[in-house]
């Protein structure tokens, strides 16, 4: 074992305690203590994927809010749909929604193109958000801010 992992211990990379959000979202207070999120890319320009990856960085430290990223929609409470669907991705998106255990919510995160698909249980829409906006919206869904 190298000594350098201890370097992480003496540094506090986490930033804010609170991420206020102006987004209008439907709150689901059943997930107040913990929420598991699955993200599905349906055809965004990879920018939103990068933002989700950035959201998982040390600055935001989402685990302290009980926000976890699941590896399967079956483990998830909230589905984040990134982008507007390409023709081929509509079926996989619908299949994914079908796999979500109830109750669940869908947070639509868009870029420039509007998503014109009818999805069930949509709890909010974000447009070109930064990671802090996404985090704020999630916290609002959880009723934590």
């Amino acid at each position: 074992m190298k000594w350098w992992p201890t370097k992480g211990m003496k540094r506090f990379l986490t930033e804010m305690d609170n991420y206020p959000s102006k987004a209008t979202v439907k709150s689901m207070n059943i997930f107040k203590r913990s929420i598991h999120i699955y993200t599905i890319d349906v055809g965004n320009s990879n920018l939103l994927n990068f933002e989700i990856k950035a959201l998982q960085s040390a600055q935001y430290n989402t685990h302290r809010f009980g926000i976890y990223f699941a590896d399967s929609p079956r483990h998830a409470d909230l589905l984040i749909v990134l982008g507007s669907p390409t023709k081929n991705m509509i079926e996989p998106l619908m299949n994914t929604i079908e796999q979500m255990p109830k109750p669940f919510g869908i947070l639509i995160v868009e870029e420039n193109d509007e998503m014109d698909l009818e999805l069930p249980n949509v709890v909010g829409r974000l447009k070109n958000p930064e990671p802090s906006d996404i985090l704020g919206a999630i916290l609002k869904i959880m009723e934590r801010n």
């Binding site: 599905i40 399967s72 929609p73 079956r74 079926e91 996989p92 998106l93 299949n95 994914t96 079908e98 796999q99 109830k102």
Partner: protein
């Protein structure tokens, strides 16, 4: 006594009535039922059926004693299941199958009741030859049947040598206390080990079990190899007192070969993709474990202080034999049912028996698979727990070499048990529980097949849960006890004073109580949403199922040196090749012998009349000179 007679007579009638299939098989099953009663009676009240004097001092005698009674009980249960199963299953094969099936039961009866070498050999030959003919019932099984016969005759020949040694010492062939000789022990053990399929004499077993009709596979795998186990028990029982003479070398050899074949069998069971080859390798593994248990017993019996351990190892062998006989009969019968219904050979092609063929055969595969994976509280768990407990106690041996051998053998056996679970998950997971191919199963009368599968499945459960009572029944009540709120005799103990304990019954009770809660939850929740299995957003297609090959590839690649794994890849096809090294050796041996034979026949028997005249002349000259 009369039961045993009736059984023999019924088998005889079964042979006679073989022109009518169902009569023949029914007679066989009734005969087996009588044999069961005979066995149970004989366990407690040994009896003889009579002696027949062939020559002065040379008798043929039949009788049942405690040991053979136990084995007859075990074997008879398997015979009952096999013959009931055959009433339905036999319809796919020719009429003389009933004849040979009855005859092989008869042969085994004779073996179990034999009181002397001649009778034993008679039974042995009847069993071997009729089994050979049974294997031949499957089309294209000639090579495998012949290999079976060759190894069968090898064991017969060594048995003849063993009994000859018996005759030289005692002047007769009878199995009486202290009549054994070392040569007898060596040769008979060899003969029985070949029959049990002990490494490295197991190759006959694979081909024969895989190719034979499934009821015959069950017969070959369960009762027939059980005869080998019985033979070893019998041979040891007539040896002079084990603790007076030093037979530790036998014990060490038995442990080494037992552990080796357990490991080898488990290793190849993991890799194989053929539905019936997998249980065949599992047979090798189980028989190896039985032999290892006997080996521990013999080693312990050399030390008077370890009498309890010796007895425990002995009852371990019997429990392993019970679990193997029941579970393996069940496995082969269920697998045969599925195979016949879907008409496929590969594990991959037989997925989803639960929905495609039926719940009972799938349950049979599942329960026997779990039993072989040592899943509590099934019979296999009890046997394998006892075996590991026997190995754990090897620290009690005073001799350092013995301890080391037992320790390392224990490691191999533990590995084998683990890998057996791996292979059984493959078998049961794919065949019984896997996704349905959507293939139509062949419609066939299968009520009695299901009856016999259910019968065995219940026994595998029962002999696990009530293992303590089985021990008491066989007269080993010192290994049952009560402790920590478990009332006597629901607790099994592995030594006195207590070394290790387990209570399959209480395990079953606790698990079923714990199971009640989710069950109640499931039943009360009336709205259950069912969705397709998650596969990355698209429905799973036929070509996307994880194959049985892929399940075990990692083992084949890691143990490259043992399997001699080769990854073959051409322009449009790829596969993994691996071999059982021992069968490669036998193939090479066979090839060499054929070549020598060819050369000899070309040079000596060349069809030239002059050469033959010259041979005759040479012989004449030789005779004159010798005179």
């Amino acid at each position: 006594m009369c039961f045993a007679y009736t059984a023999l007579i019924l088998y005889f009638f079964g042979v006679v009535f073989s022109f009518k299939r169902w009569i023949s098989y029914t007679l066989a099953s009734i005969g087996a039922a009588f044999a069961l009663v005979g066995g149970i009676v004989g366990t407690f009240y040994p009896f003889t059926l009579g002696n027949m004097e062939l020559l002065p001092k040379i008798y043929m005698s039949l009788g049942v004693n405690h040991t053979s009674g136990i084995f007859m009980t075990i074997a008879a249960i398997s015979w009952i299941a096999i013959s009931i199963y055959s009433i339905d299953y036999g319809k796919f094969y020719s009429k003389d199958m009933g004849l040979w099936l009855n005859l092989s039961f008869l042969g085994m009866m004779i073996i179990l009741m034999a009181g002397d070498g001649l009778t034993f050999i008679t039974g042995w030959e009847i069993m071997t030859v009729s089994s050979y003919l049974l294997i031949l019932k499957h089309k294209g099984a000639f090579k495998e049947a012949f290999e079976f016969l060759a190894f069968g005759e090898l064991s017969t020949v060594s048995l003849i040598i063993a009994f000859a040694s018996l005759f030289l010492k005692n002047g007769n062939f009878s199995f009486t206390q202290n009549s054994g000789t070392v040569i007898f022990l060596i040769m008979s053990t060899f003969a029985f080990a070949v029959k049990m399929g002990i490494f490295p004499f197991h190759t006959w077993l694979i081909g024969a079990h895989a190719k034979a009709p499934s009821n015959v596979s069950a017969l070959l795998s369960a009762p027939l190899t059980l005869m080998g186990v019985y033979g070893i028990f019998m041979a040891l029982s007539i040896m002079p007192n084990l603790h007076l003479y030093n037979f530790q070398w036998w014990g060490i050899l038995a442990i080494i070969f037992g552990a080796m074949s357990a490991f080898w069998g488990a290793l190849h069971a993991v890799a194989t993709k053929q539905l019936k080859t997998l249980p065949a390798y599992s047979t090798i593994e189980n028989n190896g474990m039985i032999l290892a248990a006997i080996g521990i017993s013999v080693m312990a019996s050399a030390d008077p202080n370890l009498a309890i351990m010796s007895e425990f190892a002995l009852i371990t062998a019997i429990m392993l034999a019970i679990s193997h006989t029941f579970s393996k009969s069940l496995l082969f019968l269920s697998v045969g049912h599925v195979k016949e219904a879907l008409n496929e050979d590969n594990i991959d092609d037989l997925r989803g028996a639960w929905s495609a063929v039926g719940k009972i055969p799938a349950l049979g595969i599942l329960i026997s698979g779990l039993s072989f994976s040592a899943f509590p509280p099934l019979a296999g768990f009890v046997g394998e727990w006892m075996l590991l407990e026997s190995f754990f106690q090897s620290y009690k041996f005073s001799d350092i070499i013995t301890r080391l051998v037992a320790t390392f053998a224990g490691i191999f056996v533990a590995l084998a048990i683990g890998m057996a679970a791996f292979s059984m998950v493959k078998l049961a997971g794919y065949t019984a529980l896997g996704y349905d191919h959507g293939k139509k199963a062949k419609r066939m009368p299968s009520t009695l097949m299901k009856v016999s599968e259910l019968f065995l499945a219940i026994l595998v459960f029962g002999f696990g849960i009530f293992a303590t009572f089985v021990l008491r029944y066989f007269g080993y009540s010192q290994f049952t006890s009560g402790l920590f709120g478990v009332p006597s005799p629901f607790l099994m103990i592995s030594s006195v004073p207590i070394f290790g304990v387990v209570s399959p019954m209480f395990f079953a009770i606790v698990t079923s109580v714990l199971f009640l809660f989710p069950l109640a939850f499931y039943l009360t929740k009336n709205k259950v949403r069912r969705v397709n299995s998650w596969n990355g957003g698209l429905p799973i297609e036929e070509g996307e199922y994880f194959t049985a090959q892929a399940y075990s590839s990692i083992i084949e690649i890691v143990f490259k040196k043992i399997y001699i794994t080769k990854e073959k890849r051409s322009a449009d096809e790829a596969h993994i090749e691996f071999v059982d090294v021992i069968s490669v050796f036998y193939d090479a041996l066979k090839g060499t012998i054929l070549k020598i034979e060819n050369v000899l026949s070309n040079t000596l028997m060349n069809g030239n009349i002059n050469a033959y005249v010259a041979y005759i002349f040479a012989v004449l000259v030789l005779i004159f000179i010798l005179r």
